[in-house]
């Protein structure tokens, strides 16, 4: 099977290891990974900053970069949700076909490849801060607000790694406060939210903090480092691909 890797612009520039680990992980399960350098940004930052015209132009470009039939796999729930839910709103029904073949990385492994265990060892206590858009827009887990059967696709993959202990933090799927433009429009509230998440995850005993979204982790890592916290941040792709935590 072939898949197009959709690398979020900030991952490309600020945390390339997330995309490299994603490619390794997909290849481990027999996927031929392709990367089109025509891709840049899905347009979400501009849509959420109140610039829909700019967002539409970038979304159009993004759609063109992923023409074809291949599944598009993205190591960011938020960018995947943008392509799946906002693209048809911005570009019309013509983009529905693309929207229908976009997947968040873990979602692709579980739903399309049928992966139940990724193998490897990671003998640490891991706290999962799920991306809000993964939980509430892509349905990667049961949102805490919803009534229904429990499931957690990302958590299940992590738990399949040898030695990995998944810890449960209070208010497990509460927003970390990143929120894109929110993090600079309302930095005080944004930081307060992030510090509260860090406190909850530390109280639960986490050594490593992971997420489907590197954007949330960049925010949390900045907060943790400023405070001298011992929590280490790793994207879920890095853990699943067998990378070691940063020093």
């Amino acid at each position: 099977m072939r898949a197009a890797l959709f690398v979020p612009c900030y991952v490309d520039q600020l945390w390339p290891e997330v995309a490299l680990a994603s490619a390794d992980l997909l290849e481990r399960f027999g996927v031929e990974v392709r990367f089109s350098p025509e891709q840049t940004c899905c347009g979400q930052p501009f849509l959420n900053a109140g610039l829909p015209a700019e967002a539409r132009a970038l979304a159009q470009r993004c759609a063109a970069a992923f023409e074809g039939e291949e599944p598009v796999v993205c190591p960011s729930a938020s960018c995947a949700a943008m392509l799946r839910h906002q693209l048809p709103r911005l570009l019309g029904a013509g983009s529905a076909a693309l929207a229908g073949r976009v997947y968040e990385l873990c979602e692709f492994l579980v739903d399309e490849l049928g992966v139940r265990a990724v193998g490897g060892r990671f003998p640490r206590r891991v706290g999962l801060q799920p991306g809000c858009h993964g939980v509430r827009e892509l349905g990667l887990a049961r949102p805490s607000e919803r009534v229904g059967p429990d499931f957690d696709k990302v958590g299940a993959l992590l738990a399949s790694v040898g030695g990995l202990e998944l810890v449960a933090a209070a208010r497990g799927d509460e927003c970390c406060g990143f929120g894109g433009s929110f993090s600079v429009e309302e930095p005080e509230v944004s930081c307060r939210m992030g510090l509260d998440r860090l406190a909850a995850l530390e109280a639960a005993g986490a050594e490593v903090l992971t997420s489907t979204d590197a954007s949330c982790l960049l925010h949390l890592r900045g907060l943790a480092e400023r405070r001298g916290s011992a929590l280490r941040m790793m994207h879920v792709a890095e853990i699943l691909a067998g990378r070691e935590p940063p020093p």
Binding site: Q13, F35, C41, N48, G50, A57, S144, G179, V189, G222
Partner: protein, 423 residues
Amino acid sequence: MRARRDAAAAALPEWERLRERAAAIRRHTLANLGAYLEEFERNATRLGAHVHWARDAAEHNAIVEGILRERGVRRAVKSKSMLTEECGLNAHLEARGIEVVDTDLGERIVQLRREPPSHIVLPAVHLRRQEVGALFHEHLGSAAGLDDPAELAEVARRALRAAFLGAQAGLTGVNFALAESGGLVICTNEGNADLGMTLPPLHVACLGIEKLLPRAADLAVFLRLLARSATGQAITAYSSHVHGPRPGGELHVVLVDNGRSALLADAELRGALACIRCGACLNTCPVYRRSGGHSYATPVAGPIGSVLGAAREPERHASLPFACSLCGSCREVCPVRIDLPLQLVALRGRLRGRERTPRRLALRLAAAAMARPALFEGAARLARGLLAVLPESWWRRTPWGRGRARPPLPRRSFREEWRRRGR
């Protein structure tokens, strides 16, 4: 509150179906609002109520003042009504010599403090019991230092009882108005609306035109959702039905538009009219919970208040739609499934469209660079280089760097590394 709501919702296996049903009923009602309003007016009039129509807050206040003045009312009691907060009714009546006593305990507390409610269901949630004790000591003559919640409630109860007995009119809000019967449903936990509308001979009920439900049977959906979403109770302590005036009494119903028709005509935002004012979106919102209701400076705070406030007065409340991380929790708790994040993003587009600021210019330049992969790569490499060498004093003055350490910067971007590996 959020935990109590979750437990109450989880106790009903049909919860998600109830929400879907409620959303469908509200959509249908709003799509046929004109017809249902006329049906309600016909039936309420047949029951002996006087129905008034107010285009805006000023008309609403003038109508209520007129009703009270014609009957020589000097003292009135009022149960909780976010609509009268929105219209500024208390200030209007007090300026004209009519005393209004709020009878909901939380409302009475913020009224004595001369401040607006900070929450639509829990008006005084921003106060501690010690602050309430000091307030009651000053205004109601309770003992200094009294801060036991039950004893404070008893102090308020005694003071309010006198207000009830001396009132010549009872003003109330309305939770639901039923088109098929012309009836009103008013929900409280304290029974204060019931006293207010049965002791004095005159009852004036004020409601926004969106409060309509087609049939009494619809209450089976909404009464189950309302209290569970609001406080985690199975049902409010009192769900009172009013069909016409009590014997020998008078009932006036004031239907208020005040911008609701304009919202109904707005395809992107009309869903906000489905709101039943349960407060669940406030209770779950991570921003509301940290910044408090007064920071919104709108009659209704929280996610729904950001939409209603910015839709009504875009200039004044331009910052509200941006004060949201778009986590989506409000949409998931909403008993009528209002897509608040989507509405907030739509409002951002309208508000930012008017701006001419450096930040907007920078964003547009970034968007232009992103549209050309080679330019994006070059500009981003330059930015990474700058970010690495700019002094820490600069970093700490940026909105991002004030609270967050600078990220370690990779030598090569992913696309550079991918190319280098010959992929």
